[in-house]
Each structure stands twice: as structure tokens, then as C-alpha cells.
Point group: C2
Chain length 199, copies 2
């Protein structure tokens, strides 16, 4: 069976990280591994947690179109390596990329066969509650994130699917259904069609 790239995206506080952790690897899911220029922390393994690269190497990858998207965060570069994603897809894996909205749309442009899923909390009030519960952000940051969430919601029509994360196991179930359905796209079943035509 052919693999695919599934992008789980949505506003900060929508629960992307929690949902992605709950996807069952026995369903063929594999997390995308990012490239970064930051130094490895204790216990972090090359090719598992990150691909660690120098700034020069990162720049070269970017120039050679080897990154599906990239961003700067606290002075370090992060990116999604095209080659890793393509290798995992060739092995039949469902590569899952958890990423914020702007990055997700960048990836879709470079990798049109990717499946874009917008994850959102049931209401803006619930989003505010979740951001407050994190307890790591001050009031101004929360208001800033809520404003950004409203802007991101305007981009939902550019996504293939919308999953409301009201209850986590239901959100995971919906993502499983999306993956099962997307595996049945004719363009992902070339082998089956050829086999059938030849019999």
C-alpha cells in the first residue's frame, strides 16, 4: 500500500500535539523528523528526535529545495526535510507532520499530494481556557494568540479536512477515518488498478 503525508495543523491550543501522540503506530503512522541547527540536548538522537545540521548545511538544504518548509525559532532554524518524508511514504508509511498553519500551507504548495487537516477546539472560549490552563503565557500573549487563531480560521477553506477536537479519542478516530479514506484514492491505488486490469 502507498503511504502519504498527513499534516495536522491548527491554532495554538487546538491540541495538535496531544492528538498526534495518540495516533496508533500500528496503523502505519510515522512522525516526521525535523532538521534543526540547534545543538542536541542530552539523550536526543540524530535521525530520531531531529536531524542536527550546521547553519551552512541548513542553508544549502534550503537553497537546494530539500526543505518542505522552514522557520526560525529563538535564533535556531527548523525545517521539514523532503527526502525523509518521501522515503517513509515509499515504505508505505503515513507520515504525520504537526505544524502551525502558515508552515502547513507552505508544505502543501511544495507537496500538493499532502493531506491537510485543520484541528480546532470546539469554541474560541475553549481555546482561551486551554491557553490559560497552560499557565505559561501572560494575558497579552493569550490575546495575541486568540487574534491569530481567528486569522487562521479564515484559512480553513484551503484545508482538505476540518476536525473539531472536542473529545480527544473522537478527534483521533476522525483522523483515522480520513487516513483510511485517503488510502482509497485512485491515485494512491495505481498498483491495484494495474493488477486488476491485467487479470
Amino acid at each position: 500500500m502507498q503511504g502519504m503525508l498527513v499534516i495536522i495543523s491548527g491554532p495554538s491550543g487546538s491540541g495538535k500535539g496531544t492528538v498526534v501522540k495518540r495516533l496508533d503506530p500500528s496503523h502505519g503512522y510515522a512522525l516526521s523528523v525535523s532538521v534543526t541547527t540547534r545543538a542536541p540536548r542530552a539523550g536526543e538522537r540524530e535521525g530520531v528526535d531531529y536531524f542536527f545540521r550546521t547553519e551552512d548545511e541548513f542553508t544549502r538544504m534550503r537553497q537546494h529545495n530539500e526543505l518542505l518548509e522552514h522557520a526560525v525559532y529563538v535564533g535556531n532554524y527548523y525545517g521539514t526535510p523532503r527526502q525523509y518524508v518521501e522515503e517513509m511514504i515509499a515504505k508505505g508509511k503515513v507520515v504525520v507532520l504537526e505544524i502551525e498553519v502558515v508552515g502547513a500551507l507552505q508544505v502543501k504548495e511544495k507537496f500538493p499530494e499532502a493531506v491537510l487537516v485543520f484541528l480546532m477546539p470546539p469554541t474560541i472560549s475553549e481555546l482561551a481556557r486551554r491557553l490559560q490552563c497552560r499557565n505559561t503565557e501572560d494575558r497579552l500573549t493569550i490575546e495575541d494568540r486568540l487574534r491569530r487563531a481567528r486569522e487562521e480560521i479564515a484559512l480553513i477553506p484551503r484545508y482538505q479536512y476540518l476536525v473539531v477536537n472536542d473529545e480527544i479519542s473522537e478527534a483521533v478516530g476522525r483522523i483515522n477515518a480520513i487516513v483510511e479514506a485517503e488510502r482509497l484514492r485512485p491515485q494512491r491505488c495505481a498498483d491495484e488498478i494495474e493488477f486488476f486490469s491485467g487479470n
Copy 2:
């Protein structure tokens, strides 16, 4: 929740009828009801088994673009009424239309938001076996159907999904996943998006 039209199509012998009968009505499925010019048989009810119409009424419906597709069979006309489909969708139903390949593509043209599912048996040999098992058709008819099946397989790229009917409960499960995923399309979630934006 918004409904939709799901078209289950595929070669004669692919198992369309059996699969459609197994779709659980509690999932919101409703079978499409055809219009016909043939006389009702004993026990057949108007609006349940068929909408019974005269030839003049049928012609008028066709001229007024009230049919999503139509065909002649043994001297009688059959068609899919647009109004019934639209009313059921408005009620949130997943309207299921079981139809041969040419008719399915006709419907998709008139009703682009329909979801087209191509059902196929695991191999052409299996298809031949199924047609022989029916025991109602002579050798020439079977060969004719197999030739037609090969032509229809060439049309798979115009379908949204391909479901191999190797084991019936699995085929039904795949159709359920397709419906669950298609319900998460942003264009079918306008209410949720509006609700979210307003909160």
C-alpha cells in the same frame, strides 16, 4: 450535520447491491428512490420503492432538468430525481445511489458535490466467477460483461475513491470511513466554521 450524495458504482458483478444493503441506516444512510414509467408491481409503494410516473411526466421532468440521470431498460424509463436527493441531503442524510458506471458519471456532472465510489472485485477472474455463479446469463453475455468491465476500469481516475470488494464487511467499513471523512470537508462544515468564528 450536512448530508451528501454518495454514488456506489462499478462493473456488473462487483457486488454493489449487496454492499449497499449492508450500509447501516443508523449512520444516516438513505437509499435514493428512482422515478420509473413502468407499472407498480404488487406491494410496491409510491415514494418508497419508486416514484411512478407516466411517460409524459417523465419526459417533462427530463426536459426541466429534474433528473440527475436517466436510462431505458426493457422499454421503460428510469431516472434519479434531483429534488428527492436534495431534500434528503437538506435533512442531513447520506443519500446512497447504486448505479452503473455511465450513469454515475452523468450524475457527477450534474451534481459535482457527489462522492463517487468505484467498487470492484479483487480480480477479473473473481468477477467472471461471480457472473457465472449468477447462473442467469449465458457465456456470450458474461464475456460481454467482462469486456465492459475492462472499459469501466479505465474510468476509475474520474472517481474519488476505489474500494476493492474482497470481503464484504471490509468493503462496507471502507465506505463508512469515506463517509465519515467526507463529512469533515470544510465545504460541508460551514455551520461549525461560522459558529467558531463567532465565539
